[in-house]
Symmetry: C2
Subunit: 230 residues, 2 copies
DNA sequence: ACCTGAACACCGTTCAAGT
DNA sequence: ACCTGAACACCGTTCAAGT
């Protein structure tokens, strides 16, 4: 017994990074990102808020961790014959995964995450583009473009129309309200918005996403084929 | 003097919606969106925080207003011969405008703004797509896709690598740090990320944006021309 | 080593009260 | 009509103190 136990008196810790992360994810799913406070996470764990600072240096560090954690369980599908299909399937999977998790896009927006889940997903995306025959630079840029578009789509799809609707009704109600607002505009100033009020506010988020995604893919395909012809 | 002045005792108000909006914009430009608090805006105007609630019902309502205000001064260029050029020029103008205004993308992310500046921009975008010969639905979806991609690009371009870099260095420093992190990964798990570390972290934000934008436009062009052939 | 108590310097918002 | 004083119920974070 010349050595003292470096782990202390042998009591097992109440907290851990993974326990804190799990509690934070539960809280977000249950009450939304705005309810994510250090104090709320602490009480979720039956502990005092100051205790969390032993395991995370700041709330920002915890949120960084959550931004990667939100991709947990998203498994890249192995590439198949057609890189366009692979790309479409992969981007759609990411879109649906983020849509299914409350406030996930807001969580990821504004931070370049480098956690294991994000890296795994990035890696899988690059594989697709390189198999398609894109150059190094093209693969990097194309991968980035698809990611940007996907995250932007999730953000928009989850956007309330205004502060009035933030807490309020469903996405459908928000779109209906938007349509009404568009139709009520002065037709002399905004003729096209008024006329296109219906198409601007119809269709679900996934349809809109796939429209843009297919445009992106078609454009990239053109780049690839013109390269092969050379 | 049988009637009392409905405007009160004749003193001119210290505050107004426009004065509050202007002060809030100054504050964001000077100290960033995180410093935008009702109390800070009030002291910027030499007034007490409770006073603002006479002019805006909540901070959310003020931020809604700011999300439109940030597009002030962004003038749509009149359409020219080639709709692809119009689209490219317009999207690039929006990208640069948002990039030039501190935290503008964060301000707009997560809300579907319906203010006058946003509507003016939307209207101009729809004009371009309808001139290009897209159907109503296509014009609405395509316009949305470009907007989503542009906003997503600005958000990513302004993203710090992690909490460590939030306050810290420049964008170049963040990218250099990202490159180092990518190169340091295990090559067996992330072979493509390691190999493409350089292209993944080189090039400025605008180059990356234009790559994706040109892909999008090329894909839309294909849709238009295949439609015309029918 | 790990957690608590207590404090510090903040928040958004409300509301009676002043003018 | 418009602004203030004062309060309420929160925040993130620090740090000496406990065990």
């Amino acid at each position: 017994v010349a050595k003292t136990n470096p782990r202390g008196a042998g009591r097992k810790p109440l907290l851990s990074q993974t326990a804190i992360v799990a509690a934070a994810m539960r809280l977000i799913e249950r009450e939304g990102l705005d309810a994510l406070t250090i104090r709320n996470v602490a009480s979720e764990l039956g502990v005092k808020s100051a205790s969390l600072y032993w395991h995370f240096p700041s709330k920002e560090a915890l949120v960084d961790r959550l931004a990667d954690e939100v991709l947990e369980g998203l498994a890249p599908t192995p590439p198949r014959d057609d890189w366009r299909d692979d790309l479409r399937v992969g981007a759609l999977a990411l879109f649906r995964h983020l849509r299914a998790r409350r406030d996930s896009a807001r969580l990821r927006a504004g931070r370049l995450v480098t956690g294991p889940n994000t890296l795994r997903w990035m890696e899988a995306g690059l594989v697709v583009f390189r198999r398609a025959g894109l150059s190094d630079t093209d693969a990097a840029y194309a991968s980035h473009a698809v990611h940007v578009f996907t995250l932007g789509s999730v953000i928009f799809a989850a956007s309330p129309l205004s502060a009035d609707h933030t807490r309020g009704g469903s996405a459908a109600a928000a779109l209906a309200a938007a349509r009404g607002a568009f139709q009520a505009l002065e037709p002399t100033r905004y003729p096209n918005i008024v006329e296109l009020a219906a198409p601007l506010t119809e269709g679900d988020a996934e349809t809109r996403f796939l429209y843009g995604l297919d445009c992106l893919i078609a454009g990239m395909e053109r780049r690839v084929s013109s390269r092969k012809e050379t």
